[in-house]
């Protein structure tokens, strides 16, 4: 049977014309996506230009009378010629001499990349135009190019391609969903192009399918469960997040004495009872070489600041009080004003006196693990809640404002220790120290040594600056000690004395305590502060990644006009050899980029998940509505067409009645072949004599001489024949076929 080729309507022509710009745009996009990472704008521009030209040439050649081999040979010449020219020109340095380096670059790019893209696309287009089967090759190449750009995304590696994931995060959208949506759009695009390229008539219903597909894709995108991003720890090779940091257990195992729980310091009362539930407690010595480094938090700094000490002291808690055996949190009012014992739920001010030696440093902290209290660079003046940039990665996020010391330590020399506004009791509180006489003895000896060293530079009678004394103390400890986390000085009444007057092997807690005790013996108000100390060298721009190994305790002294100043011991000898693999710099930076995402916080952190749920439900609703609406509409149309003979005016009975008969046949799976005449169709089905009668009536009514009173205008005749046809259909088609046909919404489209 010969397929009839119907006259294309305006709709067909418009749709057909649409194919070219859509195809060109898709190619330029695909080549841009692929070429962009390699050569930037120049490559994208060259490839895009060559793509447009190539499509144009391919289409033009395809429409000419050139035979395929000749056309292909021509395109090959178009490709090989410039390529040869490029090779020759670059090999013999012809181009640089003629055009200079920039001209050479462009010429080489145009000849090489441009020529290849042009020839490739011209070939594809030519083949697709001449042989419809090659349309698939063209589309597959296009889809493959676009897909290759996101190929690294497979296996849930959400960070690739970086430009896309960065862009989507900056809009607060999961890249997974963006990629899914991109895939859906790409599929729709390719399907659309395939539909447009079809030689057949473009049915409106075919293009209607695309929005329905898009709605379905949206639905899937919002309903798909597997799109959650993987744990960053896992992706970074650092073990699962939320896992308790193993330092407690490992430390205990290292001691072979689990009952000690908090390690060596628990004996001298340094440990807090609740600390077993707070893994990243800086008071516990880090597990050292045995534990893998894990990021604890990302500190983002908004202000430029370089700490004069070379370390960022991130203060979390302070231990100003001496309880007889160790430093503990104080009960005295005003001793904890520069730390917060809870996370801020609103902007909270910390009462720190302003100082000319300090300047503001603002920023934010995003915690990667559960943490008991907030920390900030010393000294914090304000805390405020901050939107969690990514709840799947960060436990919580807050912003801080600190007043950080920026002058070098020389500037502290003239400052007296303590504060004149303090009452004597508070001053005494900051000077409490063990009674052990050895401390005083050592302190005096250090002071004497210092005086002896500076004898020629000191004006006799003038008191030594407190800072100088303090430095002398920490220098003494640092020079004489050996740093190790293995020596815990556990099981003795005073571990600090055991450290200081024993083998001088210990770690931060010992040095901090020893410093504070000695300072206090010298009359310098001081305290132990805990938190994290991060080297300035590790700062990358405004990003500081705090690792679990950075947990630290350090001594601080109070100077009038400067406030609490950290002054740390620098151990001369480090016995612990760090064998742990340093975390990947790149991944840490990616983590910083994640934390940098800003979430506006008017009040409580809004739960945005409802948006997805809303979109999901809307998409579901829309999809269901569209489907139900379309099906319902088709059902109505079908019912109307079937019942129309009951209502139609006599002159249109011939048309309407026969249409009802054809619908019934179509439902039963019987349709006229295109090009077959109505009579031939009826003759083909001798088992349906009613159809022949109906066909005769129909033709008589539509092609015959119009006359009233003829049977083709008699409703009774029509309904009678239709009933007969229904009855005959029942005998020739199975029940399921008829039921299936009844549910089929496409009947009106298939009826011919």
């Amino acid at each position: 049977m010969i397929e009839p080729v119907l006259e294309p309507s305006w709709y067909d022509r418009a749709v057909k014309g649409l194919a070219h710009p859509v195809r060109a745009a898709a190619w330029v996009l695909a080549l841009g996506v692929v070429a962009g990472p390699y050569g930037g704008a120049s490559w994208v521009a060259t490839a895009g230009f060559a793509a447009l030209l190539g499509i144009g040439i391919g289409e033009g050649v395809a429409r000419s009378r050139l035979r395929l081999p000749a056309a292909l040979a021509g395109i090959a010449v178009l490709w090989l010629g410039p390529l040869l020219l490029q090779t020759v020109a670059t090999r013999y340095a012809l181009l640089p001499e003629a055009f200079g380096p920039v001209g050479t670059f462009w010429a080489s790019l145009l000849l090489g990349l441009g020529g290849s893209v042009l020839a490739g696309l011209a070939t594809l287009r030519l083949l697709a135009h001449r042989g419809p089967a090659f349309e698939v090759v063209e589309l597959a190449t296009l889809g493959g190019l676009l897909a290759s750009a996101v190929a690294a995304h497979r296996d849930g590696s959400i960070a690739r391609p970086l430009w896309l994931s960065d862009l989507s995060w900056s809009f607060g959208v999961d890249p997974g969903r963006v990629l899914f949506a991109g895939g859906a759009v790409l599929t729709a695009l390719l399907a659309g192009l395939l539909l447009l390229g079809s030689e057949r008539r473009k049915p409106a219903v075919g293009l209607l399918v695309l929005p329905v597909l898009a709605a379905l894709a949206l639905l899937l995108a919002t309903r798909l469960p597997g799109l959650e991003p993987p744990d960053p720890q896992e992706a970074l090779g650092m073990g699962a997040m939320g896992e308790e940091e193993p330092q407690d257990g490992q430390a205990s195992q290292g001691q072979g004495n689990p009952s000690e729980g908090q390690g060596g310091q628990s004996e001298d009362g340094e440990g807090k009872g609740a600390q077993s539930d707070e893994p990243p407690d800086p008071m516990n010595p880090p597990s050292g070489a045995s534990g893998p480094p894990q990021p604890v938090a990302v500190v983002l700094l908004d202000d430029d600041h370089v700490p004069p000490s070379g370390y960022w002291y991130l203060r979390q808690d302070v231990l100003p009080a001496f309880n007889g055996t160790r430093m503990v949190p104080s009960e005295v009012t005003g001793t904890h004003i520069d730390v917060l014992d809870h996370f801020p739920t609103q902007a909270e001010q910390v009462d720190v006196a302003p100082s000319a030696l300090r300047h503001p440093v603002r920023g934010s902290v995003s915690l990667l693990v559960d943490h008991p209290t907030p920390f900030a660079p010393a000294s914090a003046v304000a805390f405020a809640p901050r939107g969690n940039p990514d709840p799947a990665r960060f436990k919580r996020s807050y912003s801080f404002a600190s007043s950080a010391l920026f002058k070098p330590y020389d500037a502290l020399l003239p400052l007296p220790a303590g504060d004149p506004t303090w009452d004597p009791a508070l001053r005494a509180h900051y000077l409490e120290a063990p009674d052990d006489p050895r401390y005083q003895e050592l302190a005096d000896r250090i002071l004497a040594d210092l005086e002896a060293q500076l004898a020629d530079r000191l004006v006799p009678g003038d008191p030594l600056p407190p800072v100088l004394k303090a430095v002398a103390v920490v220098k003494h400890i640092g020079d004489n000690m050996q740093y190790t986390k293995r020596e815990r000085h556990a099981g003795v009444p005073d571990p600090t004395a055991d450290f200081l007057f024993g083998n001088m092997k210990g770690y931060c807690v010992h040095t901090a305590h020893a410093s504070v005790y000695l300072w206090r013996k010298l009359g310098i108000p001081s305290r132990v502060a805990t938190g994290y100390a991060v080297e300035e060298d590790r700062r990358r721009g405004g990003t500081l990644i705090v690792m679990n190994g950075d947990a630290h305790a350090w001594p601080e002294l109070y100077l009038e006009g400067a406030g609490w100043v950290p002054l740390d011991v620098a151990p001369a000898v480090d016995l612990d050899q760090s064998t742990a693999r340093p975390p990947d710099e790149e991944e840490l930076r990616a983590l910083g980029d994640l934390a940098r995402r800003r979430v506006d916080l008017p009040g409580p952190v809004p739960d945005r998940s409802w948006i997805w749920a809303w979109i999901g439900w809307s998409a579901t609703g829309l999809f269901v509505m569209v489907v139900v609406g379309v099906l319902g509409l088709h059902g109505l149309v079908k019912a109307w067409r079937r019942s129309a003979p009951m209502f139609a005016a006599p002159p249109s009975l011939a048309r309407v009645g026969y249409r009802a008969a054809l619908d019934a046949l179509t439902d039963a799976g019987i349709t006229r072949t295109p090009g077959e005449t109505r009579e031939a169709f009826a003759r083909r089905l001798p088992e349906l004599p009613a159809l022949q009668a109906l066909t005769d009536l129909h033709l008589r009514g539509t092609l015959g001489r119009p006359a009233d009173g003829d049977p083709e205008r008699d409703r009774v005749v029509w309904t009678g024949q239709l009933a007969r046809l229904k009855h005959e259909l029942r005998t020739v088609t199975p029940l399921w076929r008829r039921l299936l046909g009844l549910l089929d919404p496409t009947t009106p489209y298939r009826t011919r």
Partner: protein, 345 residues
């Protein structure tokens, strides 16, 4: 060559009332068909076409191998017709076997000197018959062909500068052999245009062939004698009735024009069908519609007749395959449009 006919039965038919209704015309067709079907076995389709051409006042070119029943058909047709004007010099059927040495006068007739009366008188050729069987028309020279073709187009013939009218019934069945072309003069397309139908006959079916062989024993000629014949006047009346009373809807006209347009625009034909072809086709469509018991022309008529009417009028492009296929392809689009149109308002 000539076959004198028994004229003893004419008397009864002379009094028959003139045919004015479609039913009467249909009756004529039925009688012709019934008789022919009995006489020529297995050629129902060709018989229908021949009757259609007869009622449409067109001529038929049969293309077939020798011995496939062409002469039988023509003779049977002649046997069906009763010449109710026996007084004129026109007989019912004549057969002309065309040969290369035939002269126009052998076809049209010639002026002969009668020594008895010392006068010239015209002796009519075989063309002066109601039904002329022109056998192997392509074997004769173009001169003879054109003599016949003038008669076919104008229903008149000119001998010695004197034009003589043929009978209004004049119906030519020409034959040619499609294969044995050596020494032939193929008809140019302008002359093929004179034929309403070109019918390519195929071998009859096995069953029909068996039936034919079997029936040779029994009386074949007389088989249809029980069925009344048809008079010349009845056929002429029926032609008139068909032309006037079978309805042609405007949609049919449109479909015909569409088909003609398609044959003119298709790449497979160098020259499409002429407007005359369309004009000639209308009565053929009407005749077939009536033969099928309809008083209106339907798309089926076009689908069936178009290849017979249009195929020999096309000038095919090289390598286009058979003309029938081209015509069918050209029809398909127009007929599909017609079928869809009838379902629309």
């Amino acid at each position: 060559m000539n076959e004198e006919h028994d004229q003893s039965r004419h008397i009864t038919h002379e009094l028959a009332p003139p045919i004015t209704t479609l039913d009467g015309a249909k009756d004529v067709i039925e009688r012709l068909r019934s008789r022919l079907v009995r006489s020529v076995v297995g050629r129902d389709e060709v018989i229908d076409l021949v009757i259609t051409a007869l009622l449409a006042d067109g001529h038929v070119l049969l293309e077939d191998f020798p011995g496939s029943g062409k002469t039988t058909l023509a003779k049977a047709l002649g046997d069906c017709i009763v010449d109710d004007k026996p007084d004129d010099e026109i007989v019912t059927i004549r057969r002309i076997q065309f040969t290369p040495d035939l002269l126009p006068g052998d076809v049209t007739g010639t002026t002969i000197f009668d020594p008895n009366t010392n006068r010239f008188f015209f002796r009519p050729g075989p063309i002066f018959a109601h039904i002329v069987l022109a056998d192997e028309i392509n074997r004769t020279s173009p001169k003879v062909q054109s003599a016949l073709l003038e008669a076919m187009a104008e229903k008149q013939t000119t001998v010695d500068n004197r034009t003589r009218q043929l009978d209004a019934f004049f119906f030519v069945i020409a034959t040619q052999n499609p294969l044995d072309l050596a020494g032939t003069f193929p008809l140019p397309s302008a002359q093929l245009d004179r034929f309403l139908f070109k019918i390519r006959m195929t071998h009859i079916s096995r069953d029909a062939e068996l039936a034919l062989l079997k029936s040779l024993d029994s009386v074949t000629r007389g088989a249809g004698d029980a069925i009344p014949r048809v008079t010349r006047t009845e056929v002429l009346d029926a032609r008139k009735v068909v032309k006037e009373q079978v309805h042609i809807a405007p949609a049919i006209h449109e479909a015909l024009v569409d088909i003609a347009d398609a044959t003119r625009t298709t790449d497979r034909a160098l020259q499409g069908v002429s407007t005359r072809a369309l004009v000639l086709m209308l009565p053929a469509l009407q005749a077939r519609a009536l033969a099928k018991g309809r008083d209106f022309v339907s798309s089926d008529d076009i689908a069936v007749l178009a290849p017979y009417v249009f195929a020999h009028r096309l000038e095919l492009a090289p390598g286009s395959g058979s003309a029938e296929d081209v015509v069918k392809e050209c029809c398909a689009r127009a007929l599909e449009g017609l079928s869809r149109k009838t379902l629309k308002r």
